[in-house]
């Protein structure tokens, strides 16, 4: 869709704001509506829009596929390790109050990190889903092209 000038331009203007908004939703999540799930999906949507407009190959150059797969794992690891940190500091699994000496500050830190883990995983899962479906049609077409010849 690179030849659509309007789409091209609008996407270029919008994508930075989509990603910025995702970060706002992410880090505002412990005070107001928001959180990792929503932020992750918005963040992923930014990349997916880029992929749809400028083609999968360019999008892969921005976020290589192995990196995306790695990030899905990193998010889950971050989540679990924050939980384990609570255990090591004398609380239960996922008890954030013990993360810092001040229990309320600890809860803030805990939920922030946990939601960050959720956000990373959700965003990268969304991106990898898009890539896998996009990749598939691409390969499918090539196969049928080969058959035609």
């Amino acid at each position: 869709m690179q030849h659509h000038l309007v789409l091209n331009l609008v996407a270029k203007i919008l994508i930075p704001f989509i990603i910025l908004f995702a970060l706002y939703v992410q880090f505002h999540g412990d005070y107001g509506p928001g959180g990792g799930f929503q932020a992750g999906v918005i963040f992923g949507a930014g990349f997916i829009l880029y992929g749809i407009i400028f083609g999968k190959d360019l999008a892969v150059r921005v976020v290589p596929l192995p990196l995306v797969y790695c990030m899905t794992a990193v998010g889950v690891l971050l989540y679990t390790l924050v939980g384990v940190a609570g255990m090591l500091l004398g609380g239960e699994f996922l008890n954030y109050s013990v993360l810092l000496p001040d229990s309320i500050a600890g809860q803030h830190l805990g939920i922030l990190l946990i939601e960050l883990g959720v956000g990373i995983t959700v965003a990268s899962v969304m991106i990898s889903l898009f890539f896998s479906y996009a990749q598939y049609t691409h390969r499918d077409e090539q196969q049928s092209d080969n058959q035609d010849r």
Binding site: C70, T72, A73, V76, L77, E92, F93
Partner: protein, 495 residues
């Protein structure tokens, strides 16, 4: 060690949950297998430690995140789930041990790490279902394990594995949604999702018709998940087309966790006597169990593929567990728990042996079995002993569970039920005989046979389970007492 003691129940979930993303990062097949194996072994030691702790100091309660019970999610482990947890964790170790050689024979190198990721997530889900004391948390773990099971099934070599996985996904999701509707209705009535809390509050609202509706949704949803007879349609193809190691693992664990939740919800949470007093519900479970045992075993007889045959046999055996449950006495439920343990042992061993057959001959149909008794004596003997155990021949575990079930039926003067259970064994004997006939007696004398036994790395885990099968058939003291304690825990929750 002492510092870990209060956290044992959480560790059972954390270890596989940490290991799964590690498998995604380190994508080398050997490394991912190593991670899975280490975690599997640690988890089974952990599960055994939990069982010991429960027996020495009573129910373990673990409040996640430090939020106490009715508000937060708690893990609550008593004799019943500790026993099931040990079964699942130990079977998991043997499954992974077996997968080392079995999986590379069926899967391309680059997909192996994904398989172990899904496997570990599935194991996380199964452990979670077993130990969680919160009904919604059970749903989340149920879906974690189910979603990864669909993935595991779709790894099968045959293209029919894909349709089997999709059908399982559709049926499984409907089941999970039914379960959510049921607990939603219960939540609307009582305002709590905690199992212990629900058990206390439900008696106040039993008169409400909503309880009955919730009961219906929950039982149907979980019956699908555990493949109870009329809801079993997903199971035969899913088991038959999944990779062999996965079939062995699932046969020993997946339905078992669902059966445990079923017992916990139906017998513990619903007000004491709600189930046994509502005669129709309890008669339905009994009837469905008996029907399942007969119909599924009969269909098993007509299957030409060994994996299909024993998958149908699994449905029949789940019927027996339902019979014990339907008796709604502690002896009956103890028989169910015992059969849960024994069936996990024998069916995993049988499916592993079938996997050995596949590695050696490249096929699992009955036709490829001719002369297997001579060509592959160890593999055939393993299937044979597993089959005898399914029938319930003395000195095998199957005999012990049948004995308990018949005793429990006779305790209630249900002699007809005892007779039916024994008659069911005859149907089982029919399909096991079909295997024996092909493997040992249908020999072409013209050709000479070279021994082509499966590799040792497959035979060793298979035979450890076969020997355990015989050991627990002769010495049933450990399993018998554990099953009885588990049954008492199921009934004694609310008091």
């Amino acid at each position: 060690m002492n510092a870990l003691t209060p956290h044992l129940s959480a560790l059972q979930i954390i270890l596989p949950l940490l290991a799964a993303p590690l498998c995604t990062i380190f994508r080398l097949p050997r490394v991912t297998w190593g991670i899975a194996m280490v975690v599997g072994v640690l988890c089974s030691f952990n599960a055994i430690a939990i069982l010991e702790q429960v027996q020495s100091s009573g129910t373990i309660i673990y409040a996640l995140g430090g939020w106490a019970a009715p508000w937060g999610i708690e893990y609550r482990i008593d004799d019943a789930n500790a026993f099931v947890l040990v079964i699942i964790s130990v079977i998991n170790v043997f499954g992974i041990l077996y997968a080392r050689t079995s999986i590379p024979a069926e899967l391309s190198e680059d997909r192996i790490s994904w398989l172990y990721t899904a496997w570990l997530l599935c194991f996380t889900g199964l452990c979670g279902i077993t130990i969680s004391g919160d009904v919604f948390n059970v749903f989340v773990f149920l879906e974690i394990s189910s979603l990864s099971t669909y993935v595991l099934v779709s790894f099968g070599t045959d293209k029919r594995a894909l349709t089997a996985a999709l059908r399982y996904l559709i049926v499984g999701t409907v089941a999970a949604t039914f379960y959510v509707i049921g607990i939603g209705l219960l939540y609307a009535l009582t305002g709590t999702l905690n199992m212990a809390d629900l058990a206390q509050r439900l008696p106040e609202v039993t008169a409400h018709r909503t309880v009955l509706v919730a009961f219906g949704f929950i039982t149907v949803g979980l019956s699908i998940k555990m493949a109870l007879f009329p809801f079993h349609t997903w199971l035969p193809n899913a088991y038959a087309f999944a990779p062999n190691a996965v079939t062995a693992f699932l046969a020993g664990t997946a339905t078992k966790a669902a059966i445990y939740v079923f017992m916990r919800l139906v017998l513990t949470i619903f007000p004491a006597g709600f189930f046994a007093n509502s005669t129709i519900a309890y008669l339905i479970i009994l009837a469905v169990g008996i029907l399942g045992a007969f119909v599924a075993s009969t269909i098993a007889f007509f299957r030409q593929d060994l994996k299909q045959m024993f998958a149908w046999s699994s449905i029949g055996q789940i019927g027996y567990m339902a019979i014990g449950l339907g008796l709604a006495t502690s002896a009956g439920v103890a028989a169910s728990f015992l059969h849960l343990f024994n069936h996990a042992l024998m069916k995993t061993a049988v499916f592993m042996a079938i996997g050995c057959l596949f590695v050696a001959t490249g096929s699992t149909t009955l036709n490829s079995l001719k002369n297997a008794g001579k060509r592959m004596p160890w593999t055939s003997a393993a299937i044979l002993i597993g089959g005898l155990s399914l029938i319930g021949i003395p000195f095998t575990t199957g005999f012990v569970s049948k004995w308990y079930l018949v005793t429990a039926a006779l305790e209630l003067d249900m002699w007809w039920l005892a007779a039916l259970v024994l008659a069911g064994s005859l149907v089982t004997a029919a399909y096991v005989w079909k295997f024996v006939e092909t493997a040992y007696f249908r020999t072409d004398s013209n050709t000479t046979y070279t021994r082509s036994e499966a590799p040792l790395s497959l035979l060793i885990p298979t035979w450890i389970l076969v020997i355990a099968n015989i050991y627990f058939g002769i010495n049933a003291q450990f399993t018998g007492t554990q099953a009885l304690r588990a049954a008492n825990a199921i009934f004694g929750f609310s008091s």
